[in-house]
Structure formats: structure tokens, C-alpha cells
Symmetry: C2
Subunit: 452 residues, 2 copies
């Protein structure tokens, strides 16, 4: 019998769960300090809620659930597993609009499922950590989102990361300036999105094959190369670099899409007052895959990770697909698994994350001693001490060995002598030191030695 | 467009999530003080992992997922949604046996899915909170499980609850004593399980229709009625009642299944040293639905809830279905939704659970003031204050009204006067009192007024 998890899925043993929970707690703590509130939606959605929202490729990757009863014969699917946290949010905003505040700010940390080909670091079940602000077109929203994501990364111990920033309107202006016909903008964005992966020559070939006039394409690619060179020259001075990019964009756009360019400029200026300040870098070539973005777009990168730690942007039309009336919205999604991978490789988890299952293990001298052990355990637990009770009256040596193998720092022995004297022998497994103390003093002894 | 959640599924808005998270945190905290470690398994399992483990009815209620690619045409399902947390645990123990400790104690709080007909209080996606101890046949395990569940209920504020306790071996002995042929034991248990619902006469009819000899059935039902009468006489004195039941069982069993009866007696004795002590009541008619139990079985009941808050038992053979070799195991599962229902109806949630999204809202005097507001927000957040920044430069009156509608206790105004004087006007919305303080004093002011 196959006892492994299903393909592309993972079991999380205790150490894994503790690390995941640590990161989730940090993220939730930061987001709550920004006034974001928790939301949870079902893992399973009606299939029509999801279909048609992620593009053709996305539809193909949705896990579909057989209809009960007749489904077994017809193969009909009426439900599907959540594919991301943004579309369910849009549905929720449409459903509960009257009960939700005008500016609904929510965070959501839940798994999503994609029927993708599993590979290193890509799973079929993975967690997204989303933060979104609904109801305002103000660029304060973008600044707060980038600030919150920056605070999350700082709180987790990341010091060096880049928040790439662009704007769909500015991109459209660039394509217009490059003479790309409006009906080819979508194709051009798909090609541009690959600049990181396939390089300038690759993108030029793809643009050509999609029918984008080569003169305009060349002008755009020159511009991106110039910006890239400026980025390399600028080194750490993001402020001067961003100013230079804004000036270059202004020159190239020649008044096109002035609102979008002004928004971009505002975001750069506002983020300077947030913890995202030193990390935001304009990147006019950033395109992002998803089709629903309408304004600013972001992507968060760290040096030693191919791909991004997260990304997001403004999507002012998505809720309208459910509500029939547009509601402005913007958000950022952090990828939990990627954060965990980088933190694991760099040894960034706090040293004091618990690894032992308990602070002290109570041995069982003999079967008759079990009530006394359970009684002491109850007393210690009521004082917040984490207590393991060895369940069987094995030889004491074997019990001590077990505690050591589990990394439990203290062991208590209540033999006949100790019971007669009304004391407990407490052994520190690190030092080997043993002392007899009153039962009422055990909690204090353990707590004095353990950093919690 | 339908914007509701799928049938039998629920969206959890912020207040719901906070309550759920509060209960989950209490449960996880208690279980960790008992040395249980966190485990998480995938929502999706290979379909053959689940099929055949829950009985025919269970198999029918498993949500099945279409195979990618060809599944759309053939209707073939190769994956399924987790139906409970016990079968995945058995799979995990078999898969990672060499890496896991001899006594693997884990807790797991995750959703499960059942394609049941939705009705009041019964959902298709719901959370189970399971705690299981693997690897020991000692009754210390049962005592610790009941103690842990008792501590969870106490920590949540439940004072009056009953832990019904029985043993599958004792039940078998009773059926033997009643002259029920061995091949009818399963049928008899199914009928007995309904005693609460359909009463003595109903069970008698069902036993008869299943071919159980009526003389023996009558003797058993008399016995259960006698025990029930004794329970009503005993009132609060569970200790004397349990002693009486043990004596009656001994008399009826006449030496049959002596080990099982001794185990039951041991559990009663050991739990007296735990927080489950005053709550354990022997109930020889308790049968439990699932077929995999082999020893002690439990069910937790509170007065005003039909059905149970949770239940469990010993299942020494289930892991063997995956491993090919039996490993002893026992556990208890608490139903999160039922706990939440009772706590909600009784008003048991702590008064200090946060309801407002922030401790203070910073108003926006005008668009030019946004950097200063973001700067103050960053400063306050770094001191642990939860801060909402109103994103738009609306009229101040409108902004104050919004803060009040959100239940945010403090509002800060930084107008031109305040900016010139280098101060912030902080208004307490409960008292209407307003005072000007230095920006560096805002955090202290807010924290001094808020219980956190």
C-alpha cells in the first residue's frame, strides 16, 4: 500500500509545522498592526465562480470535484478547489458588500490548489498569504501594502530585498510610444513578462512572431536596456535611480498616460515614509502574468531565489465581474513556501523555536505510581509547563534515554524513596545534575532554566 | 452571478475568524502542554488511501476529484478530499515510522470534507481538532487524552460536561453474556448506537429484526435501564456511580473479558488524578459508530447540545492497514463548529477579543499630509500599536464618523496647525476628549487606555 502523500502534496511533521506557524504568526501580526482583518473562505467553490477568471491556462489547472451521486456516472464536476485567494475575496466583497466597511482591508492565509506539474519548489497544494485593501483608489493604499509587506520581511529577518514597481497604464503608454497596435498589447505583455527568463533576443523574437512591428519593439527593448544599465550604475541609491526612471519615462511617454505616471511617482514618494522605502525600485519592464491588473503592479525579489517571494497590484475591475459594479481594489500575495525555502537555506529561523515536545518528562517508576505522575503533570501544566508523561513502567534507564532522544531537557523521577520523602528527583539532562525538590518547586526549577 | 459560498460551505468574516482562532489557539496551547506536537497533512489524498476505511456510508460521502487531463472525458477520480484526520495520521505513521518517536503524540486542527446533506449545524467543510497518542497500550494514554480534552473544555470556560466512557471489549462481553451470537455483534452495536435517539423499544425492534434473540436482548436492555436509573440516582457523585457500574458489569460478565473490564477500571482510577476526574461517567451502552475502535471509547456531551462535542477511542489495528503490522493508538477528536455553536449561544467568548480593526485611526488632513501620516503610522506600528490610515483626504468629519463606525477607539488629526506646532491631536471617541501631544507620545497615550 502506498503510504506517501499524493503527488505534489506534502505532509508536515512537527518541526515543519512549527516553522510554518512561526512565519504565519509573524505575517498575521504585522498585517493586523496595519488594520487588516482576518478572512477565511471555503476550500471548495462552485466551479463557475472560478472558471474564466485566470485565463485559459489557469482554467486548465483548476482541480475539479465530481458531482455527488450522478457524478460517478457522468463525470460531471460542479465544484472546484480554490485556485487563489483573490477571486474568492472578490466574490465575498460582492456577497457581503452591505455588511463590510467602505474600506475593507483583509488578510488571508490559506492553501490553494493547482493541478500543475510538480517540480522542485512547486507544489499542487501551497499556502498564499494575501493582503488586500478594497474601496479606495488612493495611492496611500499601494504605499500601505508595500509598507506592510516590507515590515513582514523585516520581521522575518530579511534585510536585502527588492520591491519591483511598475504600472499597467505606464506599460500601455510605453507600448503606444513603441507603436505597438492596441490589439497586440496583450500579446506584447505576455512576451515582455519573459524578459528575465529568455533575455532581450528571446523577447524580440517572440514579439516579432506575434506581429509586433520590429522598429517599435526595438525602441522599447533599448529603453529597458538603458534602465537596466542605470539600475546597475545606481547601486544602493534607489531614490536617485527611481527619479531617473521617472524622468526617462516622462521623456519617452511624451504626455501619454500622464495619470498613470503620476500615480507611479506618488507611490515612490509615499513609500519613502514606510519601511518599503529603501527597497522600491521602478522597473518599467515588469509585466506580471495575471490579466486582471489595472494599475500599479509589484513583485518582491531576493538575491538567491529564482522567481519572486510575492507580488500583486491594483485590480479595479475584478470585483465588478461578481457585483456588476466596479469597486477599486489592490493587494499583495506572499508565497509561504518560498519564504520558508529561503529562510531554511539561510538559517533564518529563530534559535528559540521549540524543538522538544516538552520541558520535562515524568518517568513512571511502576504502574502504581501512575496516579502520582498524572497528578504532578496536571499541577505543572496548570503552571504553563509542557509535560510529557512516559506512559509505561519501563526500566528507568530506558525512560531517561527516551527523554534524551526527544531532546526534553528535564526528567523527573518519583521512586519509592522520593514518594516516601514527598519529593521529586529532577535531572537536568544537559548537565547530568540531579536534585531533589518538593513537588511544588518543580515548576519553578524548570521555568528558571528554560527560555520561553 | 451567484456570489454565495458553495452549498454546505461557509465564509468566515473577521469576527468569525477571530472567534475560531481564539478556540484553536486555546486547544493548541493545552495540547502542547501535554507534549502533543503539531502535524498537518494534505487536504487531498490518493483516493485509495481513503476508500474502505469508513464503511459503505463513509465511502459514499467522500468528495472525489477528477483526474487531470483525461478525467474531463472519462470522469475518473484519482484523488479525494480528506474525510477525517485519523486515517491520514495512520498513513503518516506508516510512512515515517523510522523518523517518528516510539510514542508519537500529535495534535492536528484542520478541515475535513463530507458530501453530506447540509442541515442546521452540519456542514460539508468543517474543522476537526484531533489529538492522538501512538505506540503504547498503557491506559495512561487514555487518562492523558481525557485529561487533555478536559483541560481544553475548562480553558474555554465549560464547567459542566460529561465524558461518557465505555470499552469495545466490555461491550463484546455484554453481548456474549446476553447470548448474542458473535456474527451478530456488529449488527447489535449498530442498533445499540441508536439507544439515545430511538429509545429502548426502538432498539429492541431493531435487534429483533436483525435476528438477535429477544431474551438476551431484553436482558441487555434491562441492564442498560438499571445503569441509567443508577446514574439518575447518583446525581453529581460520579465516583460512587462509576464504582457501582464496575461492580454491576463484573456481576453480569461473570469473568468474561476480564482484561477489558480491568482496563476500564484503570482508566476510571487514573482519570481521577486528571482534570477529567469529576466528569468521567461509565456508560455501558455507549457504542460509537466507527468500526475501527478496539478498546476504550469516549464521547463528550454538554447539556444543551444534541449530539456530542467530540469523541474517540482506542484503535489498535488501523495503522496496521497501512503498515502491515499493528501499532497501538488512541485519540480524541473535538468538533470545532459544535464548540463554537455552544460558546456562541452561551456568550462564552472572552470580552477582550478584539473587535475593532485598529487601536487608532490616522486621518488625512489633505493629500500633502499623507507622508507625515504614513511616517507616524510606521512609528506607532513599530511600537505594537494597531494603526489604520484613512486612505483619502475626505472631510475630517466624515473620517471621524468612519472611525466611530468601525469601533476604533482613537483618532489622530494632524492639521496644518498641528504640523506647524509639531504635535498630533488625539481624540478619544468614547469620551470625546481631545488632547494635543507630541508625535512620540501618541503610542504611550493609546496604550495607556487600551487593555491588550
Amino acid at each position: 500500500m502506498n503510504t506517501g502523500p499524493a503527488r505534489g502534496m506534502r505532509d508536515f511533521l512537527p518541526e515543519d509545522v512549527r516553522r510554518r506557524q512561526y512565519v504565519i504568526d509573524v505575517i498575521a501580526g504585522v498585517y493586523q498592526r496595519y488594520g487588516f482583518e482576518p478572512l477565511e473562505t471555503p476550500s471548495v467553490e462552485n466551479i463557475e465562480t472560478l472558471l474564466g477568471k485566470y485565463g485559459e491556462e489557469g482554467d486548465r489547472l483548476i482541480f475539479k470535484i465530481l458531482k455527488r451521486g450522478e457524478g460517478a456516472e457522468t463525470g460531471q464536476a460542479d465544484l472546484a478547489l480554490r485556485y487563489d485567494l483573490t477571486v474568492p475575496l472578490a466574490r465575498v466583497v460582492a456577497e457581503y458588500r452591505a455588511r463590510l466597511p467602505k474600506f475593507f482591508k483583509r488578510f488571508q492565509v490559506q492553501p490553494v490548489w493547482r493541478a500543475d506539474r510538480p517540480q522542485k519548489g512547486r507544489f499542487r497544494e501551497f499556502y498564499q498569504c494575501d493582503v488586500d485593501a478594497i474601496g479606495s483608489t488612493s495611492m496611500v493604499v499601494e504605499a500601505e501594502l508595500l509598507g506592510a509587506a516590507g515590515d513582514v520581511l523585516s520581521a522575518l529577518g530579511f534585510t536585502s530585498y527588492t520591491m519591483r514597481l511598475n504600472h499597467r497604464g505606464v506599460l500601455a503608454g510605453l507600448l503606444e510610444a513603441g507603436g505597438v497596435p492596441a490589439d497586440l498589447h496583450g500579446d506584447a505583455l505576455v512576451a515582455l513578462d519573459k524578459l528575465d527568463k529568455i533575455g532581450r533576443a528571446g523577447v524580440a523574437t517572440e514579439l516579432d512572431s506575434r506581429g509586433v512591428p520590429s522598429a517599435g519593439a526595438g525602441r522599447l527593448l533599448d529603453f529597458f536596456a538603458d534602465v537596466q544599465a542605470a539600475a546597475e550604475r545606481s547601486g544602493e541609491d534607489g531614490g536617485a535611480f527611481n527619479d531617473e526612471v521617472l524622468a526617462r519615462l516622462g521623456a519617452l511617454l511624451e504626455g501619454r498616460r500622464a495619470d498613470a505616471l503620476a500615480d507611479l511617482s506618488t507611490i515612490v514618494r509615499l513609500t519613502a515614509s514606510t519601511s518599503a522605502g529603501g527597497h522600491v525600485r521602478l522597473d518599467p519592464s515588469l509585466a506580471r502574468g495575471l490579466s486582471y491588473y489595472t494599475g500599479a503592479i509589484f513583485e518582491i525579489a531576493v538575491a538567491d531565489l529564482a522567481g519572486s517571494l510575492g507580488g500583486g497590484g491594483r485590480y479595479d475591475n475584478l470585483i465588478g465581474m461578481f457585483l456588476g459594479q466596479d469597486v477599486p481594489a489592490a493587494g499583495i500575495s506572499l508565497g509561504l513556501e518560498r519564504i520558508l525555502v529561503v529562510m531554511g537555506e539561510r538559517g533564518m529561523f529563530p534559535k528559540d523555536l521549540p524543538t522538544a515536545p516538552a520541558d520535562i518528562m515524568l518517568t513512571l517508576w511502576n504502574a502504581e505510581a501512575a496516579p502520582a505522575a498524572l497528578h504532578l503533570a496536571a499541577d505543572l501544566r496548570s503552571q504553563g509547563v509542557r509535560v510529557e508523561v512516559y506512559p509505561e513502567a519501563d526500566k528507568i534507564g530506558k525512560q531517561l534515554k527516551y527523554a534524551a532522544s526527544r531532546g526534553i531537557p528535564f526528567v523527573a523521577v518519583m521512586g519509592d524513596d522520593e514518594a516516601a520523602a514527598g519529593v521529586v528527583a529532577v535531572k537536568d539532562l544537559a548537565t547530568g545534575e540531579q536534585q531533589r525538590v518538593a513537588a511544588s518547586a518543580v515548576a519553578g526549577l524548570v521555568r528558571s532554566r528554560i527560555v520561553t
